[in-house]
């Protein structure tokens, strides 16, 4: 299996709708024999990105869509998500590891996407998320 796999879909603002797409991405990655760590990183980042698009972007308005496109080949995967919300300023999101924010129940998705993906960029005023990950890209070594 060498040819890249590309697919796209528009889903309503429901996280449940995203699960089938998430499973499809994982299946394609497994067909390309990506490692379990790669799959873990992408599944987590996809979930966080979609949750942001649906909750913060589209404000859970099911009449609004999230457009998702994905490209996977033997060496890298790329996913793009576009919501229909008002956009946001990624740099204005506080660091959730700071003492004043660490016990907040929300606000960690962006941090996780930036750590687990090689490239995490917002375009169109924050309405479009582009994430990329190379095969076997190293994850931070966390001390025990």
């Amino acid at each position: 299996m060498n040819e890249p796999v590309e697919f796209a879909a528009s889903i309503p603002s429901s996280l449940r709708e995203g699960l089938a797409l998430q499973d499809r991405i994982v299946q394609v990655m497994e067909r390309f024999s990506y490692s379990a760590r790669d799959v873990f990183a992408v599944r987590l980042s996809f979930e966080e990105g979609l949750a942001n698009a649906i909750k913060h972007g589209n404000q859970l308005d099911e009449s609004k869509l999230v457009r998702i496109s994905c490209r996977i080949d033997g060496s890298r995967m790329r996913v793009e998500m576009r919501d229909q919300g008002a956009g946001f300023e990624p740099d204005a999101v506080p660091d959730p590891t700071q003492e004043e924010f660490i016990e907040r129940p929300t606000g960690r998705g962006l941090l996780l996407m930036r750590v687990y993906m090689d490239h995490c960029e917002f375009a169109d005023g924050g309405r479009c998320l582009i994430m990329e990950r190379e095969r076997n890209s190293p994850l931070p070594v966390m001390d025990d």
């Binding site: 996280l15 449940r16 699960l19 998430q22 379990a36 760590r37 873990f40 599944r43 987590l44 979930e47 966080e48 949750a51 959730p96 590891t97 660490i102 016990e103 907040r104 129940p105 929300t106 606000g107 960690r108 998705g109 941090l111 996780l112 750590v115 994850l139 931070p140 966390m142 001390d143």
Partner: protein, 119 residues
């Protein structure tokens, strides 16, 4: 709630409530909300004060699930109780470390260690 609908399995060991999380993937928002309600009820409804959450079966969890664990931690503290998490797989343990929640929550290698911490 029927047994098959449950997200946790409860056992009492030496005065400590051990809640085993039954879902492999704690990603879906609806499931996460339901899990949160079951966990919070241990403190709010049952009045339990010594609680261990056993993560043996859990392979994935999202930041929304982390949020429920933080709320659970606060509820337990407010009630004057103790909460520990144990048997967390390496990939998930890294999520706790990246978000630095290992500094807020009590994470233990295994159930025996967790029982000592809260018992």
């Amino acid at each position: 709630m029927s047994k098959s609908d449950r997200r946790i399995d409860i056992e009492e060991i030496s005065g400590v409530t051990v809640a085993r999380l039954l879902e492999k993937k704690i990603l879906d928002e609806a499931n996460i909300d339901a899990l949160g309600q079951e966990l919070f009820a241990l403190v709010d409804k049952d009045g339990r004060k010594k609680i261990v959450l056993d993560f043996t079966l859990v392979e994935y969890l999202s930041s929304a699930a982390l949020g429920k664990l933080i709320t659970m931690h606060k509820k337990t503290n407010t009630a004057g109780g103790k909460l520990a998490l144990c048997s967390i797989q390496k990939d998930i343990l890294d999520v706790f470390k990246i978000t630095q929640l290992n500094k807020v929550l009590t994470l233990c290698a295994d159930l025996d260690d967790a029982l000592k911490k809260v018992g």
